[in-house]
């Protein structure tokens, strides 16, 4: 590949990258992480499945 061809390919790749209208990953079903509850003064534990 000549230098000119290489530069053209690179420019086209850069242009495509800039024109891409990417969005957020559609991971929309992720449930809440470990939610806390107070056990005594400052200690927390993750709720079990029954308490959810």
């Amino acid at each position: 590949m000549s230098d000119t061809q290489h530069n053209d390919t690179q420019s086209a790749a850069e242009r495509a990258e800039r024109e891409e209208m990417f969005g957020f990953h559609p991971e929309i079903l992720g449930e809440a992480g470990e939610l806390p509850r107070k056990v005594d003064d400052r200690d927390y534990e993750a709720p079990n499945t029954q308490s959810r």
Partner: protein, 295 residues
């Protein structure tokens, strides 16, 4: 803010880990909550000192800052500020003209920003594990970027710059929507009371993380699986962030808000919305106004 019924606790809507666009609220010990607020305040004092240092260029100050500076262009017209809807006002899709203009601003920004910034932004929003890990680190450290590894600091700063590039092109305000899942014992019956007890007008809410939002309530309603009815919506008035949506050809008005924002609660209300196909729905809404300090 301390809970009225349980003064030992506070609800931090941005504290729980999440790989999805939805924020996960957590109950935190009141002492911890106050310590975190004091920590943020200390970091902002450091930013104010950086801004006051003579002999540093604008670029050097931005590199030293711990929170990203807002860089929004002047409002094109006072009518472009966008105000929070009033109680009883139906939330409708934004106009085709608005979507097309915001999309054009996005294209113009992407055409000129450094590719390293564009790639950092794409990496953050298209890799759920990266979205979770960087945001969890920011939350754990109340937004103190210097607590992150060199590599992670570099990515966060590049995303900050990418958002600022968009803000410099943006001469309009935003009203945005973002889902927030309340703790596990909340359901559709006690959600309204829980919100009113824990988000009183004038309370402050801090977002240490980057935030996913959209410009349309019906769109945000479609981004969440909520069989228990514990997900509320933040309705945010701000001028910050970058449009990551598309033109009017698609129903996609996503928006990336920067990290390190502070909001004031305006109120809680049940709001109805309308989708483009005419269907309607209701959501419990917490209205917030951007009050991020700007040293």
């Amino acid at each position: 803010m301390p809970r009225k019924g349980h003064p030992d606790y506070a609800v931090d809507p941005d504290r729980g880990s999440s790989a999805s666009p939805t924020k996960n609220a957590r109950l935190v010990d009141l002492d911890e909550h106050q310590d975190r607020a004091a920590s943020r305040s200390g970091l902002r004092d450091l930013d104010a000192m950086t801004e006051g240092m003579s002999g540093l260029t604008r670029m050097q100050k931005d590199r030293e800052r711990l929170f990203p500076r807002g860089t929004t262009a002047d409002l094109g017209d006072p009518r472009m500020r966008r105000h929070l809807p009033t109680e009883g006002q139906e939330r409708a899709p934004i106009s085709s003209r608005q979507r097309n203009e915001r999309s054009k601003d996005r294209r113009d920004t992407q055409a000129t920003m450094p590719l390293t910034q564009l790639r950092a932004q794409k990496d953050l929003v298209t890799r759920p594990e990266r979205w979770r890990d960087l945001n969890d680190q920011l939350s754990a450290n109340t937004g103190d970027i210097q607590a992150l590894s060199e590599k992670d600091q570099e990515q966060v700063r590049r995303v900050d710059r990418a958002i600022q590039s968009y803000e410099r092109h943006n001469d309009r305000g935003h009203v945005l929507y973002s889902n927030v899942r309340m703790p596990y014992y909340i359901n559709h019956q006690n959600l309204p009371g829980f919100l009113r007890n824990n988000f009183a007008a004038g309370d402050r809410v801090a977002f240490d993380r980057f935030t996913h939002a959209t410009h349309q309530m019906h769109e945000t309603a479609g981004y969440v699986h909520d069989p228990d009815g514990r997900v509320a919506v933040f309705e945010l008035q701000t001028r910050r962030g970058a449009y990551l949506g598309q033109s009017d050809k698609k129903d996609n008005t996503q928006h990336l808000l920067p990290r390190g924002l502070e909001f004031e609660v305006v109120g809680v209300q049940e709001a109805s919305y309308r989708s483009p196909d005419g269907t309607t729905g209701t959501r419990m809404v917490v209205q917030l106004r951007d009050v991020t300090p700007e040293p």
